[in-house]
Symmetry: C2
Subunit: 418 residues, 2 copies
């Protein structure tokens, strides 16, 4: 039975800092639901001595290691040979895999297999091959007679994820501890500070014992993560339900979703249920709100489009805002954000108009309207709700928070509207 | 003299996979220019035994460790006490820091310092405090009588980055090896496959010895990274210049920048030099192109705005495209992308109109226009250039590649136009 594994990510680029390692996090999230924890994560370069040392130490500590990277065709790629040497195994040419690769090259790339790629068909003696749906390097499962093992996966995220799901997870699931799962649930909030949420939850009914509560702030808002460990699935589900209920009562309707749903997807669902359509009018976000909404596949039945009204001339020409309104109030003002939201609806025929205008910085701030001053508005038939925000962070963060804030305002108005 | 350090990132969230660790990569990139390499990276949970074991092993291997995380106010945060215990040092209350924190809470949050935050003023005996410009937890520099050291930085990226730049880098620079720097230069390309670039470079004049050439593909394109190690700054500069020249000749004008410049920033610079303005018309990207362009601070002197023409009604109503053109050719077609680019110019008065329409998927593909089929166009006075692309990847990737492709088309046309 496997309770914990170590993850070893291999590649010079990880030590040079040119690549952000997302593989380790992905593997951790994939193993948690089957009750396997990550004991440690390590990254080393493409160096046989470093690889061998790191694998050997991890086997001594934990006995179970997943590696990513270093399975490619070039001389940089040393993972397979280094770990085979550690296990005292020779590399043997897998004729079947070689034939498959030759065929793949001919069919996909219309050329002969490059000589250099032959190395990818070498398999350590006694190893089990893990199929690669997205690439030419097979993964390797190598186990010694004491049951200690290393699973070698490719470094390319798409290939690694496919192989993990298709091949490694089913193998590990068969050896995972029965019932001792780590279960977690995430309550997503936006627009309320972590400290404020914490105070509200502390003042409310106590959360049940056995549930860890963690706050994960990001530009999207604060996620409240509830975790149970080593409980049966049923017990976990009950505890998490109870905790989610208690916290929901304490913080109110700022929870826009459970799980990892994007606020954009939640807003689109609420609109779809009510047959509403959306148009946008964006100044400082320059298209980011539209990009967020249309990133959701199937958004076209709700989102009509809108106007990127970055310059004032576009606010006038495409949204029909009177120049005098801009002159009298400035582009970052309640009258302008209101006219933008109403203009978006009027020009497209959408039910809802969402608008944003603000000072994203780093330049352009004044005493009266410092960097981070953002007006948002949501226009519906008969009413337009506007709100002034003071957002923090750099230009990217302010723009992201502004897009998030107007989607949240729209979500609440739509839900309240019934 | 310090040649290499290890990085230890601390936090349960790293092992659970809820957080992608960007701190390690940032530190690596910051240390490379002063000639300090990263020997290994490790992540452990918020557990005193794990922290102590990992630091102790790293000190034995490398003698120099930078940690991030676990300096916060809550009981989760165990870094300082664990490492102080390993060094056999007591924690001592720093009255000056406590007073500063009290003052900060009163001024910034208008409240008394929470009792829990007092822990952040505890400093290991004999340690040096590292100032935190962005938060309340000081960093810690702890060194033993054999010159082995640990530098503890906060886990919040903004705080970590500030402290690294302000405090730790100057200390390390004073101990860095003279002249033995890792220098690298990046040539950015887009729209050409890695294998094709590799073939062109192999067929060209050989790149100078002592320069490593690596290819880093991403949705933005392929970066060609040139690296020298252990050379004097002057020698490195000469080698890198020569390599960049040779590669530039081999691959031609697909290199849009050196360094880490964003294609959007490069395009804006080229337009600014020529007093050109840009308007966008976006269908499948839904605002992403506008968001990319306006993410660059100071973009408002070039970018006027444009239209998110996601639905066909918006293409007709806001861009003036005849419904018959859409009906006859479909929304993903040369006549429509051309009319979008020309409409963007006509409706805003911009010099350049950039447009995108395509099938971003996962649904909506047909035999004739499969997922990934994207038309892009750039309209200038007197001519409109259109191009059909077949892009790969998921919805996000296809949208990103489409925005990148139309910016690159515009850049080339602008540069050719003189």
């Amino acid at each position: 039975v496997i309770h914990a594994v170590e993850i070893l990510t291999i590649g010079d680029e990880l030590l040079l800092g040119f690549t952000i390692d997302t593989n380790g996090a992905h593997i951790a999230r994939a193993l948690a639901p089957i009750g396997i924890a990550i004991a440690r994560r390590t990254s080393v370069g493409d160096d046989p001595d470093q690889i061998r040392a790191a694998v050997s130490e991890a086997l001594d500590r934990t006995g179970a290691v997943i590696t990513t990277g270093g399975l490619g065709p070039t001389t940089d790629d040393r993972t397979k040979e280094s770990i085979a040497a550690l296990f005292g195994r020779e590399l043997i040419l897998d004729e079947g895999h070689l034939a498959w690769m030759r065929d793949r090259w001919r069919k996909r790339f219309d050329r002969d297999l490059p000589e250099v790629n032959r190395r990818q068909a070498l398999i350590p003696d006694g190893a089990r091959k893990l199929e690669n749906r997205h690439g030419s390097a097979p993964g390797i499962w190598l186990e010694d007679d004491r049951g200690r093992w290393v699973a070698m996966l490719p470094g390319v995220p798409r290939e690694m994820r496919g192989m993990l799901a298709d091949e490694l997870l089913p193998m590990l699931q068969a050896r995972a501890p029965a019932g001792a799962v780590i279960e977690s649930r995430t309550l997503r909030t936006t627009g309320v500070a972590e400290s404020r949420l914490g105070e509200q939850i502390e003042r409310g009914e106590p959360t049940p014992d056995g549930v860890d509560v963690a706050y994960l702030p990001s530009v999207a808002g604060v996620d409240i993560r509830l975790t149970t460990r080593g409980r049966s699935p049923r017990e976990s589900a009950e505890l998490l339900d109870r905790a989610a209920h208690v916290i929901g009562v304490a913080v109110g309707d700022v929870i826009y979703a459970e799980g990892n749903a994007d606020l954009a997807a939640v807003l689109l669902d609420r609109c779809r249920e009510r047959s509403l359509t959306i148009a946008v009018a964006e100044s400082c976000t320059g298209g980011l709100l539209g990009a967020r909404l249309t990133a959701i596949s199937g958004s076209s039945d709700v989102v009509l489009g809108g106007v990127v009204a970055y310059g004032n001339s576009v606010k006038v020409d495409l949204l029909g805002i009177p120049p005098a309104t801009i002159e009298a109030n400035g582009a970052v003002s309640e009258p302008v954000v209101r006219a933008m939201a109403e203009g978006a609806r009027a020009k497209t025929g959408a039910t809802l108009g969402l608008s944003i205008t603000g000072v994203a910085g780093p330049g352009g701030g004044t005493d009266e309207k410092p960097v981070g001053t953002v007006w948002i508005a949501v226009s519906q038939r008969g009413s337009t709700e506007c709100s002034r925000l003071q957002l923090w962070g750099d230009r990217d963060e302010i723009r992201s928070r502004a897009a998030q804030a107007v989607m949240e305002l729209a979500r609440r108005l739509v839900v309240q509207g019934g």
